[in-house]
Point group: C3
């Protein structure tokens, strides 16, 4: 198990960036036939999520839903960096995801892909992929 | 590791269907004494979640909370299928869950069970169970 | 794989309690050099989440966001215990988290830590840590 780091450059405050191709490649290079792939964000204001990676409107709508959601919260935050909404979304979406590996390939459902979910961009992000 | 597929027929747009019995059975049949069980949705508008599987009001209240939540979002979605709320809820609940296996049995807390979380029903769904 | 149970005493209805130190210790004692650590709540009204464990305002803001969020939901719950909001939050945050183990140590990002997320406190809680 030697993890692969994927670098992602984001350009919006809330943005879902597909990393499906990079994760597929990391799984192939790991050389594991049947196993488990764990995909982790190393950050506290960016998550990893599995969703539709076909119609480009889906990740755009996810970002719009996040912005509408945190904008509607009637709450006063104390954290001085002003990104408590980003921390909140990160915990809701989750810091990591797991997918099966079958026949040496990432086991995605027909429409599924993997996204870095940016909640405090634009930033440079790192996603770690490990196969067991 | 040979996964077991569980078929679930849902009947509402938002619905939490218990699959605790089916997952317990798949774990017993896997024949692993101490390990990890991964339960995955193969869809992008249905999730898998762990919650109370005792009082039938809990899954009903979860579905009601989901409907109230997405109904309250002040956002215009672009995705032509009209189910961006379903994609959003799927990422929030998560596509997969993991549970320990101990003594050959699924390691659930006293009140815990496993649910297919339907966010765009009624539909036919598939949940994949793998034991490592 | 012999899990370690961590006991947590919470003091508020919504509260994020750091268990980073306890999980680090459990990983060291497991003696696994390269692997996967799974951290699970055994409850249905308390979750486990990864977030910033540095500025104490972050977990306080997460609790405030949870309270504001469920307080804003226009929904009538049926569950007689009156804690359906707690069940809802538990499924959104997730019952368990996974982190890589590298060189015998928990593989956290620079600001990441692990929290028991209490949504129906004050209570006595148990978090289970297993290393594979």
């Amino acid at each position: 198990m030697k993890p692969t780091d994927i670098s992602v450059r984001t350009s919006e405050r809330y943005e879902f960036v597909s990393i499906t191709g990079e994760v597929r490649r990391a799984v192939r290079e790991a050389g594991v036939e049947e196993g488990l792939c764990v995909i982790s964000s190393t950050h506290t204001t960016a998550a990893v999520t599995v969703n539709e990676d076909y119609d480009r409107d889906v990740p755009r709508d996810l970002a719009a839903a996040c912005e509408a959601f945190v904008g509607s919260l009637d709450v006063s935050f104390e954290h001085a960096e002003g990104n408590s909404d980003s921390h909140f979304l990160t915990s809701l979406f989750g810091s990591s995801q797991q997918l099966l590996v079958r026949g040496g390939e990432l086991g995605l459902g027909r429409w599924q892909g993997i996204f870095l979910a940016e909640f405090d961009g634009p930033r440079q992000r790192t996603v770690r992929v490990a196969v067991f």
